[in-house]
Symmetry: C2
Subunit: 251 residues, 2 copies
DNA sequence: CGTTTCGTTGAAGTTATTCAAGCCGGGTGG
DNA sequence: CCACCCGGCTTGAATAACTTCAACGAAACG
């Protein structure tokens, strides 16, 4: 009698990836898709609050987010935490570990996530045999840098009110591009503590600042997240325009 | 009579690049060196205060710093400026422009600089024919990201005193690796305004904070820059350790 | 020898942090 | 069912950190 296997979650072949058809991602050739498919070794779920990657780790896995939200962060010895950026569907996690000796930041799941795991060992092969994918990796790294530049400007030079408006507008814009095909509810799955740790503010002050945004009718705070009511108003409050990116690659 | 040409600065062939022998840079194969040499089209000087790159620019040049200091920054409409990072010998400038449509930040020379200019059009060829160099480009982008992460942590979560100590320690460590073969004077060519715009603080508060570092005997302020007296003391004040990187690539 | 750039300082005012509660909804165990 | 607890949000008050304003000194420059 055949031994019944534990239920394996259905593994989606890259060729039928639900993300690819979305307008914000660039089309891949069959050859590229085949390589990516052969590069993928597993599909891993992650629960909210789970550590996906830990600072100091060596040879971490290389992932792409298929669904869900997460965030990258660093902490000082005494526990002060700075959230560096968020990861959304289509984003890579762990690229740094393939390039540096050890991870310089941690990653945690914000919602339930599904991650595509890739084979680290074949990473050099990607550079040898797939120059356009190699270029895409550079593209992805440059995009991350550009987001970090924007955050640094924000944390360094914007007022608390502008900063908060910027962050929510920025996340809304990313969510629109990466997730929402036809806009469902525009809501961001964060607590005010996450916002505080992203903006470099205390929780109390963050709360009072968000209240102002709510009083202006720009956002609403829900159970465990925030709903964007007036995205254009947020843009104005932050003196920010979302960069209009062309179709982006994702591995 | 022959028309006397303007003095052309001697152009250094990449094979005899004064930077390459330094211990912090990785060795290149002859093949790689030949490619880089053929990739280089000019050697450009830049004077202090000169704009090397401007936000919004399309198709900017691609450079590597051969000598001198510069910095990357962004400004808000009302003039508030945030310095994002500094560029030192061996660093690339303008990579973003080869990947995104337009530059998202500006770059300015801090001291007199010499820049090696590369041929943008051959950038795709680099990915096709030189996979290890392509990997190096990704390496460089990942290193920049890692520095930005560190800065964001600093600006978001460290106190003014820690931030200042961190910045000076960080720049000293980079200067040691990139410039000083046998430690000359460990001095950084910045004004207090630059420090303020990097830390996200006002000039006045920066001045008072730097004074504390001076009173502790950690640094000394000179004409138009700062001399590092006690690097280990700065590390301690910032709760920071310089990451020990292996030999790094540079194009 | 005036002008500009850079560093310095005191004082007043604003912004943000810390401390200390309290509220509300959901989940758990008695 | 209710009591309790816990995580997340909210609020007021005291304090600390940081900014702004205003001014001055000193070196560098043309």
């Amino acid at each position: 009698m055949a031994i019944s296997k534990p239920a394996v979650p259905p593994r989606i072949p890259c060729q039928q990836c639900p993300l690819r058809p979305r307008p914000s991602f660039r089309d891949f050739t069959d050859d590229e898709l085949d390589f990516v498919a052969s590069f993928k070794v597993a599909e891993t779920p992650a629960e909210p609050g789970m550590a996906i990657m830990v600072e100091g780790e060596r040879n971490p896995s290389l992932y792409t987010v298929m669904s869900g939200w997460g965030f990258r962060y660093k902490i000082l010895e005494d526990g002060r935490r700075q959230i560096l950026n968020y990861v959304l569907p289509g984003d890579m996690i762990g690229l740094q570990g393939n390039v540096m000796k050890e991870m310089q930041h941690s990653v945690e799941a914000l919602t339930r996530m599904t991650l595509c795991t890739f084979e680290r060992e074949r990473f050099p092969q990607l550079f040898r045999s797939q120059p356009t994918l190699a270029f895409d990796i550079t593209w992805i790294a440059a995009r991350e840098e550009s987001m970090l530049d924007e955050h640094l400007l924000s944390v360094g030079r914007r007022s608390a009110y502008e900063r908060a408006a910027y962050l929510l507008a920025f996340l809304d814009a990313r969510a629109q591009a990466a997730i929402a095909s036809h806009t469902e509810l525009r809501q961001l799955p964060l607590t005010q503590q996450h916002v505080a740790d992203t903006l470099g503010l205390s929780l109390v002050h963050t709360n009072k600042t968000l209240r102002k945004l709510m009083d202006q009718g720009l956002v609403r705070w829900l159970d465990r997240g925030c709903e964007i009511i007036d995205a254009a108003g947020l843009y104005r409050a932050a003196e920010w325009r979302p960069p209009k990116e062309g179709a982006r690659p994702f591995i």
